[in-house]
C-alpha cells in the first residue's frame, strides 16, 4: 500500500465531486429532503390529537363541564355540534367519522344518582360514527376509557387496580429521533453502493481503469482510496442531516464514536457489495439496476423508515437477515437508547458481514479486462 497514491486518488475523486455541483447537491439534499418530509409528518404524530364532534342535547352545567373535561383530557380537539341538527346527517354531510351525542337529562340523572342515591338513574351517550374510518375505533376506545373513569369517579369508591407507567428508557423519545438513525444508515448505504457502482462502471467504460492498470497503482490502493472517499462523503452527508435535524426538529440524540463506527462499517459493507456488482455486471445501466434491486428492498424491509414490528412475522425474519437492519438497530441503540451492549452486538454482526463482503469485493476487483 502506498499512501501517496491513495492520497492522489482521494484528491482527484474529491475534486471531481466538488466540481460537479449537481451531484454534490443531491448527495446532501436527498436525505435532508427525506428528513424534512418524514420529520414533519411524524412531528404531528407526536402531538397526536383526535378531532371529536360533540352534540350536547342537555345544555346544562354538568353537560358543558363534561365536554370541557374531554377537552382537558388532551387527546381531543372538540367541535361543538348544534343540538338542533340530526347527528347522523351531520356525520354524512360534514365527512366526520364520529359525533358523540350527550342526551337530554344528563344533569337530572346525575343529581338523582348523587343526591338521592338512585342507582337506577343513568344516561346513554351515543357514538354516531362512520365505520369506514380507520381511526374511529381508536377514538371510541379512548372515549370508553374516559367514560369508565367518570363512572368510577361518580361511584365514589377509590379504584382497586391502578396503573403506573415506567419506561425502559431514561427519557421519552420522539418518532423523529427514532427515524433519523434509520435515514443515516439508509443514506450511507445508498451513497456507498451507488457511489461505488457508478464510479467504477463509468471509469471502466471510459477506459480510465485500463489506463490505471498501466501505472503502479495497486488494487489495494485503489480500493482503500475508494473507501476513504465514500467515508468522507458519508460524513459530510450525515453532518448535514444532523444539522438540519437539530435546527428544524430540535432532536435530542446521543452522538459518540459509535456513530462514526457504524458509518464506517456501513461504508465497508456496501462498497464491498458495490465492487462485487461492478465486477459481475459490466454495463453501467445494468449495474445501477442491480444496485437498485439490492438497495430498495433493504431500505423498506430493514426498518429504516418504521419499526419492523409493524411487518408480518415472515418479513421480520427476512429483515433480520439484511445487513442494513443491524446498522439501523446499532445506530438507534447508540443514538437513541444509549445502549452500548446492544450497539456492540449489532456492530459485531455488521462488522463480520462487512469483512466478508469487502474481502469478496477485493477479490472480485480486477484491473485486467476480461474479454
Amino acid at each position: 500500500m502506498n499512501l501517496r497514491v491513495v492520497g492522489a486518488n482521494l484528491c482527484v475523486k474529491l475534486l471531481s465531486v466538488y466540481r460537479e455541483k449537481t451531484a454534490m447537491f443531491f448527495t446532501i439534499a436527498f436525505p435532508i429532503i427525506l428528513i424534512l418530509v418524514f420529520g414533519t409528518i411524524f412531528m404531528s404524530q407526536d402531538n397526536v390529537g383526535f378531532h371529536l364532534c360533540v352534540q350536547d342535547l342537555d345544555q346544562t352545567k354538568s353537560s358543558v363541564d363534561s365536554v370541557k373535561a374531554l377537552e382537558l383530557n388532551g387527546k381531543f380537539k372538540i367541535t361543538r355540534v348544534d343540538p338542533a341538527v340530526d347527528a347522523t346527517q351531520y356525520v354524512r354531510d360534514n365527512k366526520v367519522d364520529l359525533v358523540l351525542v350527550i342526551p337530554e337529562g344528563l344533569e337530572k340523572a346525575l343529581t338523582r344518582r348523587k343526591s338521592s342515591k338512585d342507582f337506577k338513574a343513568s344516561v346513554t351517550i351515543t357514538y354516531v360514527y362512520d365505520p369506514s374510518s380507520s381511526s374511529v375505533s381508536t377514538k371510541m376506545d379512548i372515549l370508553n376509557g374516559v367514560l369508565a373513569g367518570i363512572n368510577q369517579e361518580i361511584s365514589g369508591n377509590p379504584p382497586f387496580i391502578r396503573s403506573a407507567e415506567k419506561s425502559i428508557l431514561t427519557r421519552k423519545y420522539r418518532f423523529i429521533e427514532y427515524f433519523i438513525p434509520g435515514i443515516i444508515a439508509m443514506s450511507v448505504m445508498t451513497l456507498s453502493l451507488f457511489g461505488t457502482v457508478n464510479l467504477n462502471t463509468e471509469l471502466r467504460q471510459k477506459g480510465i481503469i485500463r489506463k490505471l492498470s498501466t501505472t503502479p497503482i495497486t488494487r489495494t490502493d485503489w480500493i482503500l482510496s475508494n473507501i476513504l472517499y465514500q467515508f468522507i462523503i458519508a460524513i459530510i452527508s450525515t453532518t448535514a442531516m444532523l444539522l438540519v435535524s437539530y435546527a428544524v426538529f430540535n432532536v435530542n440524540l446521543h452522538l459518540d464514536a459509535w456513530l462514526l463506527a457504524f458509518i464506517l462499517l456501513d461504508v465497508f459493507a456496501f462498497v464491498g457489495i458495490g465492487m462485487f456488482l461492478t465486477r459481475f455486471v459490466q454495463e453501467a445501466q445494468s449495474a445501477a439496476a442491480a444496485a437498485n434491486a439490492i438497495s430498495f428492498p433493504m431500505m423498506f424491509l430493514s426498518g429504516s423508515f418504521f419499526p419492523i414490528e409493524l411487518m408480518p412475522g415472515f418479513l421480520q425474519k427476512i429483515a433480520k437477515m439484511l445487513p442494513l437492519y443491524y446498522v439501523n438497530e446499532g445506530l438507534r441503540a447508540a443514538m437513541v437508547f444509549e445502549d452500548n451492549l446492544a450497539a456492540l452486538k449489532d456492530a459485531a454482526v455488521i462488522g463480520v458481514f462487512a469483512a466478508v463482503v469487502f474481502i469478496l469485493g477485493v477479490m472480485a476487483t480486477k484491473w485486467e479486462e476480461s474479454q
Partner: protein
C-alpha cells in the same frame, strides 16, 4: 533470436485466444532501442491485443514476450514503472484540469521530479493548463494522453491508435508531438491503421492482418520489396483515355472521381501514355506520378484495400 542489449521488445510465437476466436496467431517480432516501431493493420487485426499483452494488461495464451529484458507475465511490477502507455480510446477524469491530471499520474508513479511544465510544452498545451479535461477537443485530449504516458520518463512508450477519430489537422498536431518524442530518442511502439502515419513516423513497420504478421521492415524497404512500379494518376479525363491506356497493354482503373490510375514500370511508359492521349485529342486536367506507398504494399500483401481502419474489399491488384 535477438540481442537483448539492443532489443527492448522481443515477441516469440505469441498467441492469444478469446474462447473460439484466435486474435493473435503465433506472431514474432522485435523492437530495437530508440526506434519508432509501427504496428500497422486494420481494426480487429490483433494490434491492441498484442500491445496490451506487451504492456502487461493481458496475459498471452502461449508464446514468450520480453520487455526490457523481462518476462511480461512475471515482472509486471518491475516493468510498469519503466513504460508509458496511451491506451486506445484514452480518457481521463472529466473535471480535473490538464495540470492536475499530469500531477495525479506523476504521483501514481511516485515520480517526484516530473517536469510537468516541460511535458506541457512538449505537447503544446501551455495555454490549456487550467482547462478541465471535459472541455478539451479530441486532439488536445490525445496530446494530454501522450504527456501522461511520459510522466515517469519511460524507456518505452506505447501509443495505441493515438490519432484515431481525429480530423486531419489534429492528427498532424499529434504527429508533431510524436516527432518530438522520436527526436528525444524514446523507443516508441505505435499501433495504427493509418498508412501515412506509419510511413511518416516509423523507423520499422510490422503489418498485421487477421492475427498474423505478414511483413516487417522499414517503410522504404517494404515499398521497395513489394512494389517495382510507379503509379500514374490522370484527373478529369473522359472514358476514351481509359480505352487508349487499356489497349496499350496497361491495367487502368477508373474511380468515382473520374480519375484513371494505372501502374507503369518506367517513366518512359508515362511519356508513351501521355503522347497517345494527346494524339487522340483527349484532354486531362491533372497528372500525378508517384512511387507507391504503404497503402499499395498492404493491398499487394493482403489483396485488400484499407480505409479508416476498415478493410473495404478487394483492391485493383
Amino acid at each position: 533470436m535477438t540481442n537483448q542489449a539492443e532489443h527492448v521488445i522481443e515477441v516469440e510465437h505469441l498467441t492469444k485466444r478469446y474462447g473460439g476466436l484466435l486474435a493473435v496467431d503465433g506472431i514474432s517480432f522485435s523492437v530495437r532501442k530508440g526506434e519508432v516501431f509501427a504496428f500497422l493493420g486494420p481494426n480487429g487485426a490483433g494490434k491492441t491485443t498484442t500491445v496490451e499483452i506487451i504492456e502487461t494488461i493481458r496475459t498471452p495464451t502461449s508464446g514468450n514476450v520480453r520487455l526490457l529484458g523481462m518476462d511480461v507475465t512475471k515482472k509486471k511490477h518491475d516493468i510498469v514503472p519503466r513504460i508509458g502507455v496511451l491506451p486506445q480510446g484514452f480518457s481521463s477524469f472529466d473535471r480535473i484540469t490538464v495540470r492536475e491530471t499530469l500531477q495525479y499520474y506523476s504521483r501514481l508513479f511516485c515520480h517526484g521530479k516530473t517536469d510537468i511544465d516541460g511535458l506541457i510544452d512538449l505537447v503544446n498545451l501551455k495555454d490549456k493548463t487550467r482547462e478541465q479535461y471535459q472541455n478539451l477537443s479530441g486532439g488536445l485530449k490525445q496530446r494530454l494522453g501522450i504527456a501522461i504516458a511520459l510522466v515517469n520518463d519511460p524507456e518505452v512508450v506505447f501509443l495505441d491508435e493515438p490519432t484515431t477519430g481525429l480530423d486531419p489537422a489534429a492528427r498532424r498536431e499529434v504527429w508533431e508531438v510524436l516527432q518530438g518524442l522520436k527526436n528525444k530518442g524514446k523507443t516508441v511502439f505505435l499501433t495504427t491503421h493509418y498508412m501515412e502515419e506509419a510511413e511518416f513516423l516509423a523507423d520499422m513497420v510490422a503489418i498485421i492482418s487477421k492475427g498474423k504478421i505478414i511483413a516487417t521492415d522499414s517503410p522504404a524497404k517494404l515499398i521497395e520489396k513489394n512494389t517495382n512500379y510507379l503509379l500514374l494518376t490522370l484527373q478529369s479525363v473522359d472514358e476514351k483515355a481509359f480505352e487508349i491506356i487499356r489497349k496499350m497493354g496497361f491495367e487502368p482503373v477508373l474511380n468515382d472521381h473520374k480519375e484513371i490510375k494505372t501502374k507503369v514500370e518506367h517513366t518512359d511508359d508515362v511519356q508513351k501514355i501521355l503522347g497517345a492521349i494527346t494524339d487522340a485529342g483527349v484532354l486531362y486536367l491533372g497528372l500525378d506520378v508517384r512511387k507507391p506507398n504503404l497503402e499499395e504494399v498492404f493491398l499487394k500483401l493482403t489483396g485488400e484495400a484499407l480505409h479508416d481502419g476498415q478493410v473495404v474489399g478487394k483492391g485493383a491488384e
